[in-house]
C-alpha cells in the first residue's frame, strides 16, 4: 500500500505545502456582489479594452498571476511549475498565458473543479519533493463561456430558476514547500459520477452526486466527520445543487448544516438576476482565494475543506443527447 495513500482516494501530505501568495481578478458583476471588497482587482467591463472577450480573459489570468507574484517574494524563475486550466476549448486561456509565465506548464481540465484539481496536483508534487514553488491558476468569463457552450449574448433567452451564471474571474495562488500561511494537509481526488442528468440548465444537480461521493469517500478514508471542519465550502453547486448535495450526504448519515457554504450562492448573494448562482472555474477560485483565505489568515477558520465541482460535458455532448457527468476534488486547508 502506497505510503501516503489513505483509504481509496485521499493523499496525506506529510510536508504540507503552504499557500504563500494569491490574487483574484473579477468582472464588474462580481465586484458589485457581496464579496466585492475581497477581490484584488475589478475590471470595468467584459472586454477590458481588448478586441475579444477571450483576450480579456487571458488578461485577467495574467493580472492575477502578476499580482500573486508581487505578493510573494519570488522571481519568475523561482516558479518550478505552472498548473492552470479554464473552460475554453483546448484550455487556450491557460496555454496562452503559460507563454508569458515561461516556466514548465501542466494544463489541466476539470471544468469548474479546476482550482482544487490544480491545488491538489501542485500540493502532491511539492510534498513529493519535486518542486519548491508551484503556481496554480484558473479563470472563467461569462461571455466566452456563453458563446462556446450556449448562445450569442444578445439573443433573447429566458433562463430557468435552476440556471447558473458563469463568473468572470481568475484566481492564482503560489504553493510553496516552506513559508507562512495556511497549509494544505490532505487532498481527496474525485471519481467521475454520472446519474444520468441531461439538463444543461441545471448543472448543480448534475454535479451534486460527485460532490457527495468525494466528501463521503474523504470521510471514509480519513475517519473524520463534519465536526472535524469549521467549514466545508463547495464550488459551485449553486442553490439547487447545494440542496441536492446536502440531501445526498444526509442520506449517508452526515448532516452538514451551517458548516456548508457554496461559492456559487455566495458570489452574487441572493440576487435573483443570477438565478441559482454562479458557476465557472473562476467562481470557486476567487471566492476561496479572495474571501476564505482571508478568514483563514485571520484565524476565523482553522480547518476548511475546499471542494470544487465540475460538470464534464461539452457543447456537442449534450446536443447529442448525452448526460452530464460530474467530478469533485477536495483539498484540506488548515490555518497556520
Amino acid at each position: 500500500m502506497a505510503d501516503k495513500l489513505l483509504g481509496k482516494q485521499t493523499m496525506r501530505l506529510k510536508s504540507p505545502p503552504v499557500i504563500t501568495a494569491r490574487a483574484t481578478v473579477v468582472g464588474h458583476r462580481e465586484g458589485e456582489g457581496p464579496l466585492g471588497e475581497y477581490f484584488d482587482h475589478i475590471i470595468p467591463d467584459d472586454l477590458w479594452g481588448e478586441d475579444t472577450c477571450e483576450k480579456a480573459e487571458r488578461k485577467m489570468m495574467e493580472e492575477a498571476i502578476t499580482r500573486t507574484m508581487e505578493a510573494s517574494d519570488l522571481t519568475p524563475e523561482q516558479i518550478d511549475l505552472f498548473i492552470a486550466g479554464d473552460l475554453l476549448n483546448q484550455i487556450v486561456t491557460s496555454s496562452f498565458v503559460a507563454r508569458q509565465v515561461g516556466q514548465a506548464f501542466l494544463g489541466i481540465y476539470g471544468a469548474c473543479s479546476s482550482m482544487t484539481e490544480g491545488m491538489a496536483l501542485g500540493s502532491m508534487l511539492i510534498d513529493g519533493d519535486y518542486a519548491d514553488h508551484v503556481l496554480v491558476a484558473t479563470s472563467s468569463h461569462y461571455q466566452t463561456a456563453e458563446r462556446q457552450f450556449r448562445f450569442p449574448v444578445e439573443l433573447n433567452i429566458q433562463r430557468s430558476g435552476r440556471a447558473q451564471f458563469t463568473v468572470t474571474g481568475s484566481g492564482a495562488a503560489i504553493l510553496s514547500k516552506q513559508g507562512k500561511g495556511p497549509r494544505i494537509t490532505e487532498v481527496t481526488l474525485g471519481k467521475v459520477i454520472d446519474l444520468g442528468l441531461r439538463n444543461p440548465e441545471d448543472l448543480g444537480s448534475a454535479m451534486a452526486p460527485a460532490a457527495a461521493d468525494t466528501l463521503l469517500q474523504h470521510f471514509n478514508d480519513t475517519g473524520r466527520n463534519v465536526g472535524y471542519y469549521d467549514l466545508i465550502i463547495t464550488g459551485d453547486l449553486a442553490a439547487v445543487g447545494a440542496t441536492m448535495f446536502a440531501d445526498l450526504v444526509k442520506e449517508a448519515g452526515h448532516t452538514l448544516g451551517n458548516k456548508h457554504i457554496d461559492a456559487g450562492t455566495m458570489i452574487y448573494g441572493a440576487n435573483p438576476r443570477f438565478k441559482a448562482g454562479g458557476s465557472g472555474c473562476g467562481c470557486s477560485a476567487v471566492v476561496f482565494l479572495g474571501y476564505i483565505m482571508k478568514l483563514l489568515e485571520q484565524g476565523r477558520y482553522r480547518r476548511v475543506l475546499f471542494m470544487a465541482t465540475g460538470a464534464l460535458f461539452s457543447p456537442l455532448s449534450y446536443q447529442q443527447g448525452e448526460s452530464i457527468p460530474g467530478v469533485a476534488h477536495a483539498v484540506v486547508v488548515e490555518a497556520q
Binding site: H28, R29, D45, D46, L47, Q143, P152, V153, E154, I157
Partner: protein, 116 residues
C-alpha cells in the same frame, strides 16, 4: 378593432407557446419550428388567410405567419409556373425580410457591440 384582436390573438399564440415551453420542457427551437410548420400547413388549407384578415398582425407577426408566407409564395408561384414554382416561391414574400435581416445584422455587427 383589429388592434384589439392583434393583441389578443398574438398574445395568445405567445402565451400558449410559453405554456408549452414550461410544461413540456421543449426548447425554443422546437416550439418555433412547430409554429412555422403549422403556419405553412394552415396556409395550404386556406385557413391562415382568413385568420390574418380577422386577427391581422396577431397572426402575421408570430413566426407561424412567416411559415404561412413561405407557403403562400410557393403556392402562388407553383400555380403560375408549375413545378419550378415549388422552388422559386419560398422567398417571394419572405425574401424582403430575410435579406433585410442579413443586411441589418451586418450593419449592427459593424456599428454595435454586444452589451455586457
Amino acid at each position: 378593432m383589429t388592434y384589439l384582436w392583434a393583441f389578443l390573438f398574438g398574445g395568445l399564440i405567445c402565451g400558449l407557446s410559453q405554456l408549452a415551453f414550461d410544461k413540456f420542457n421543449l426548447t425554443t427551437a422546437h416550439i418555433l419550428v412547430t409554429l412555422v410548420i403549422s403556419g405553412a400547413i394552415l396556409e395550404g388549407l386556406g385557413i391562415y388567410k382568413g385568420l390574418v384578415s380577422f386577427g391581422g398582425a396577431g397572426f402575421l407577426v408570430p413566426v407561424s405567419g412567416f411559415g404561412s408566407s413561405i407557403a403562400r409564395g410557393i403556392i402562388s408561384e407553383s400555380k403560375r409556373l408549375g413545378w419550378e414554382g415549388l422552388f422559386t416561391g419560398a422567398f417571394e414574400l419572405t425574401g424582403l425580410g430575410v435579406t433585410a435581416a442579413v443586411i441589418f445584422g451586418t450593419l449592427a455587427a459593424i456599428f454595435s457591440r454586444p452589451k455586457d
